[in-house]
């Protein structure tokens, strides 16, 4: 067992190496130069450009640059941003909590609404409610979220004035030092009255936008999984034994139906991160998605490279973790692979 886990973990090492090499090469193939791009109409003299490129090591041969980079990473150093001269890891860690907070909030939003909706639709299968809910879910699933975000800003913030347009907390009313980087936790820690609610208020609209597609996925998944479970013999038996329908649904069916749902949610991580890029762009949310996009436009090689490595690394580790959990629960998988 332990050997299997070790083997699985070891398999990710070449993946990491390939990831490093491929992103490294791709980023250097991007036309444009991190120095040139920062210059306005004023431009830069060829001599000065060469000098700056030399200082940044950009004039070294590829392989040399790559090797230096690998050594750097092995020392836990992800490089320094060309634009801000700040450590890439520091920047990432400052911005990541915002992304994580938004992503988790969207996930919770999706589960809290999606599971009951799915169960309800399954129990009332074929009814008007079922059809309406599933119609709504498919619409949510098909939603271009950048447009959905704009539409909601236009209506909810613009016309009705119900939510703030962007930002994470009211900057005049509240001031506290970020401790964890999570606006919700920091606002509570600050002990300032109303700060938490204000942070929640700021989080609401981005959460809805980012959570729409996962909500649809969870609702659809819960419904179909629930339908399958309801057909299973043990549920029928329980029903036949005269257990109350709620008890059957709540205790027996739901528990089993949720297993595939949880798996689906786990597999949604990268999808959510993609959505986060767009959501953060629309709401000016200070997270890593927006930062990555800006880094591409600014040709900030170290930030881009480090950011992709860190995110992809987390996804790979996360998948590894799910894999391992699975093999623990279900030993058959070990032989299947």
């Amino acid at each position: 067992m332990f050997r299997f886990l070790l083997k699985r973990a070891a398999l990710t090492l070449p993946t990491f190496a390939a990831l490093m090499l491929i992103t490294f090469m791709m980023i250097r193939m991007v036309p444009g130069d991190p120095i040139e791009v920062r210059r306005g109409e004023r431009g830069i003299s060829p001599e000065r450009l060469a000098e700056l490129r030399h200082e940044m090591g950009l004039d070294q041969p590829w392989l040399k640059q790559f090797w230096d980079y690998v050594v750097q990473i092995l020392h836990g150093d992800f490089g320094t941003s060309i634009v801000s001269h700040e450590k890439v890891l520091t920047e990432f860690l400052t911005l990541f909590p915002a992304t994580l907070e938004l992503t988790l909030a969207a996930m919770i939003f999706a589960i809290v609404l999606g599971v009951p909706a799915g169960v309800f639709a399954a129990v009332r299968r074929g009814s008007f409610y079922d059809q309406a809910l599933m119609g709504a879910a498919l619409t949510g699933y098909s939603m271009p979220i950048f447009w959905w975000g704009l539409l909601l800003i236009m209506l909810v913030s613009g016309f009705w004035g119900l939510t703030p347009v962007s930002g994470r907390v009211d900057l005049i009313a509240f001031y506290y030092e970020p401790v964890t980087g999570f606006a919700l936790i920091d606002s509570l820690l600050s002990g300032q009255d109303g700060a938490f609610l204000d942070a929640l208020h700021h989080l609401a609209l981005p959460t809805i936008v980012l959570g729409t597609v996962p909500l649809a996925v969870v609702a659809r998944m819960t419904r179909s999984s629930m339908l399958e479970v309801l057909e299973e013999d043990y549920v029928r038996t329980a029903r036949a034994k005269g257990l109350s329908p709620y008890r059957v649904i709540g205790l027996h069916a739901l528990r089993n139906a949720l297993i595939p749902v949880v798996t689906t949610i786990g597999l949604q991580t990268t999808t959510l991160l993609s959505g986060a890029v767009l959501t953060e762009t629309i709401f000016s949310w200070p997270g890593v998605g927006k930062w990555l996009i800006e880094s591409i436009f600014r040709r900030d090689y170290p930030a881009l490279q480090g950011g992709i490595m860190l995110i992809a690394g987390m996804v790979i580790l996360f998948n590894l973790l799910i894999d391992m959990l699975y093999s623990l629960i279900n030993p058959r998988i070990r032989h299947g692979r």
């Binding site: 993946t15 992103t23 704009l150 993609s274």
Partner: protein, 299 residues
């Protein structure tokens, strides 16, 4: 009702296409989806016939007109005009061509390459299999939009490159799907028997294995079209899609973002077009899945 159908089918054996159509017809949503998608396709193909104006003609002095049904609108521009006075309806109609083209092209190319790689991985196995699967894992590990943007940044933003980028991003799902079904198929008795009988590996793959992967592949393909349209629109929205004067829906949205408060209709309609198209392709895809996947058909 579904059970009944199954019985009738058994009673009078029909061709696979016919029985598929019978199953598909059961799903009202899917039929609606099919109809609307067909309409969109027809409109896109005969765009010059349906569009009231040339999509790139700028009517100076008529910029940012609201839709005709709002006061201040002009009947000649049913959905209003954009920032430089182009007819929004015409742009949306012509935009359907581009969006559908992207969706279809991505689906076909990625399915084709995906089938090839998937079969290769399953057939050859060993190191080839490992390499292919690892590369797919890599692609999946990077958020799709970030990867697509990175690819576009390398090869430059235009229509073809949008298709290339989205294709690469969506490749893994086809490869994984085909490889998994092929592996399952390869372990079946008839295939082993054929192998023993000396049937060539290549022939085996194409003749026996591939047809058996078709059903999930078609379902994946249908959903792949709608996903590709969304992804491409997202790229367009970030300014990395088709370049002017093409009227791509995502680009139309990106161009009009600044009018979100002053001229909301310019922002509303392209998004609505994306939603309607994607929604109906998905409706159709759901129907396809139900009809093609006998396991689900029964439930």
């Amino acid at each position: 009702m579904a059970v009944e159908t199954a019985i009738t089918e058994r009673a009078q054996p029909a061709g696979p296409l016919l029985s598929f159509w019978r199953a598909f017809r059961q799903n009202r949503g899917a039929v609606i989806g099919l109809i609307i998608v067909s309409i969109v396709i027809v409109v896109a193909i005969f765009a010059p016939f349906f569009a009231p104006h040339d999509p790139i003609e700028q009517f100076r002095g008529f910029a940012k007109l609201p839709p005709a049904f709002v006061s201040g609108g002009d009947i000649r521009f049913p959905l209003g005009t954009d920032a430089v006075g182009r007819d929004i309806l015409s742009r949306i109609i012509y935009g359907a061509r581009i969006s559908l083209f992207i969706g279809m092209a991505v689906m076909l190319v990625s399915a084709f390459i995906g089938v090839g790689l998937g079969l290769l991985a399953a057939a050859v196995g060993g190191i080839v299999d490992v390499i292919i699967i690892r590369i797919m894992d890599l692609i999946v590990a990077v958020p799709s939009l970030v990867l697509a943007i990175l690819i576009i940044a390398v090869i430059g933003p235009n229509l073809t490159n949008t298709i290339i980028a989205v294709t690469i991003v969506y490749l893994p799902r086809y490869v994984r799907l085909v490889r998994a079904s092929a592996l399952a198929e390869l372990s079946k008795d008839y295939v082993i028997a054929a192998k023993v009988a000396g049937v060539g590996k290549f022939r085996l793959m194409i003749v026996n294995v591939l047809p058996n992967c078709m059903a999930p592949l078609i379902v994946q393909g249908a959903l792949g079209v709608s996903d590709a349209i969304l992804e491409a629109a997202g790229l367009g929205f970030l300014g990395l899609g088709a370049q002017p004067p093409f009227a791509e829906w995502g680009v139309m949205l990106a161009d009009s973002r600044e009018f979100i408060l002053s001229a909301p209709w310019i922002v509303t309609f392209p998004g609505l077009a994306i939603l309607i198209t994607v929604l109906n392709i998905n409706l159709m895809g759901d129907g396809l899945r139900d009809a093609l996947d006998p396991r689900l058909r029964r439930s």
